[in-house]
Subunit: 356 residues, 2 copies
């Protein structure tokens, strides 16, 4: 079937610099010079070029430019779980400063699956992103190879990788978890449960460490039965919570070491017919918009999401501007999370005469 001549041509070639050059009656080099302001051009010709650009509707072809310059002006962002408001906030911040500096962001979600991460890494690498910011789902050989090749800046966020020489921005997880558990202890709790994440994740390990430290300080022995393994997902969190809650000697407080497991925990408490905080106190990692609008208002550890993203981008930009100058030793920036005390933790044992 023939194409109808009258319809708005769906696929005419996009105008290029040569179209502009022809119309303006100047050389290609001149057009390039005015576009990039890379060489002096007489006012007269400059105006002609600018006019021509407008007339033909010329737009830079960033692909061609990238091929020539070797820079795509886009950074790759790999996130383990885009469903998690913590990451969402970080993405937002990264995308904002990236754009502000003329960079685009290519997003990939590994869904906490190292295999998917591997594949996505390849996709972004092929597309020649200038740098990568990664919240990894767990180390893979290709990731390590990528970092070791030192061909492009890689900055890790949120999760660290052991013995990998690259920059990173994370929070002080042991201090954060310690703060939360210390607080629980200060309220009188002695049987404090923990819901952890996969031990392949540095965050999970560090938070576990913080939990142990706080307990040790208080002279409380750690009981394995009180730490429930989940994988930073709400379904897992639920399972772990149910385990903890059905213990013969139930914990009086539980610390959920990320926000999704916090959901699972709250759901578990509800399904067990228990009430928070009357029957059990809860603190959890990561703050979110809803944390204070329902009952109980949740006590959380709030992470500086905006700063994490901004810092990661700052490091990336620094590398990109140094143009691959010999980078100094890998540096890991540690930020602090802050305990936001609300209503989900109460004294234990409950003071007499307190209504539920």
């Amino acid at each position: 079937m023939k194409r109808l001549g009258s319809q708005p041509d769906p696929d005419r070639r996009a105008p290029t610099m040569v179209d502009v050059a022809k119309l303006a009656e100047v050389s290609l080099a001149t057009v390039s010079a005015v576009i990039n302001d890379s060489a002096p051009v007489s006012a007269d010709r400059k105006k002609r070029v600018l006019d021509a650009i407008r007339r033909v509707g010329y737009q830079t072809n960033a692909i061609a430019r990238s091929l020539k310059t070797g820079s795509t002006k886009t950074i790759g962002l790999m996130i383990a779980d885009i469903t998690n408001p913590f990451f969402t906030a970080v993405i937002h911040s990264i995308q904002e400063v990236a754009y502000h500096h003329g960079y685009g962001v290519m997003l990939c979600c590994s869904d906490e699956d190292p295999e998917k991460e591997r594949l996505h890494l390849r996709l972004m690498s092929d597309r020649m992103v200038d740098a990568l910011i990664i919240a990894t789902a767990g180390e893979t050989p290709p990731l390590r190879a990528l970092i070791d090749s030192r061909r492009k800046p890689v900055v890790l966020i949120d999760r660290l990788l052991d013995g990998v020489a690259t920059d990173a921005v994370v929070i002080d997880n042991v201090a954060a978890a310690r703060d939360a558990v210390r607080y629980l202890v200060s309220l009188g709790h002695r049987r404090i449960g923990l819901i952890t994440g996969k031990s392949t994740l540095s965050t999970a390990r560090e938070r576990y460490q913080g939990y142990c430290q706080a307990l040790a300080e208080a002279g409380i022995a750690i009981e394995n039965a009180l730490v429930g393994a989940a994988r930073f997902g709400s379904a897992d969190g639920y399972g772990a919570a149910m385990g903890l809650l059905s213990l013969a000697e139930r914990p009086t407080a539980i610390f959920a070491s990320n926000n999704l497991s916090g959901i699972g925990l709250m759901r578990g408490i509800k399904d067990s017919g228990l009430r928070c905080p009357a029957d059990i106190s809860v603190a959890c990692f990561d703050d979110f918009e809803w944390a204070d609008v329902f009952e109980p208002r949740l006590t959380t550890l709030v992470q500086p999401t905006r700063a994490i993203g901004a810092q990661a981008m700052a490091i990336v930009l620094e590398h990109l501007q140094d143009g691959g100058a010999q980078r100094s030793a890998a540096r890991v920036v540690r930020m602090r999370a802050q305990l936001r005390i609300r209503d989900s933790c109460v004294m234990w044992p409950p003071p007499p005469g307190l209504s539920t």
Copy 2:
């Protein structure tokens, strides 16, 4: 300062096809043929090429490929508010199917700002994305121009644009809002408040319409005082809620027409010393993971986020595969949202003898 010879070369050139060809002692064309499987190659030479690829660590340079083929295999995704779990879920779904078909996703957040949207549009357009999926912050001339140029597929999601000839996938907002308000009416409510979004957004307008329809059906006059204007943000929602709640004759139920304004509403109720649902019933648009783990469990309108994303990508892929065949008339796919009844709405007036 000289570069030290011993350090791991930070910026050696990435290997290209010619490096592979040399090592394998074949021609460039042969290498290309095996990489793209675009022509028959003898087993012997194929093996040599594959080996060489591995040995030099060759990776396709998608930029160069794109320049030649005219396709970047990446789709641009513009989202109005990445902080909103609804969009987050849609992004997730889009990115998943995109990846599954070998496409990358370039993400931009307009933050509900048409001006930012304009700028980001340009950024993605320059980078030659193959298609665009847009949850627009409001129409701008460049967006309309982009669509009218018909140079690349554009599919709108969530929000429609008046009189714009392009595909879209949205939900039936009037039906959804009508369902929610009908439900409130069926519970006995007559003074039902509404928190709307910016009237430049089709979703806000349609949801308002649904609200009006349900009221009309029930023979209830609509009172302007009962509809609070917000802009789909939680702070605005809070303001609007406070207005509604301080009315001399307070509504007995409020419908928040998106999730962020729902937060604001719940916060407002709390700050007013009111309780939900005892003092006031609440229903709101968009479901989210936390909606049922706190008190009260929220009654919401759940959107088929996964399907929305998948459908949008399906349309995009269809266009991309047709290779710009004359596309039929713009088609808008309407999906249904579903009312999920939980505990935040109760009968009015309250039956006697009901404890709070």
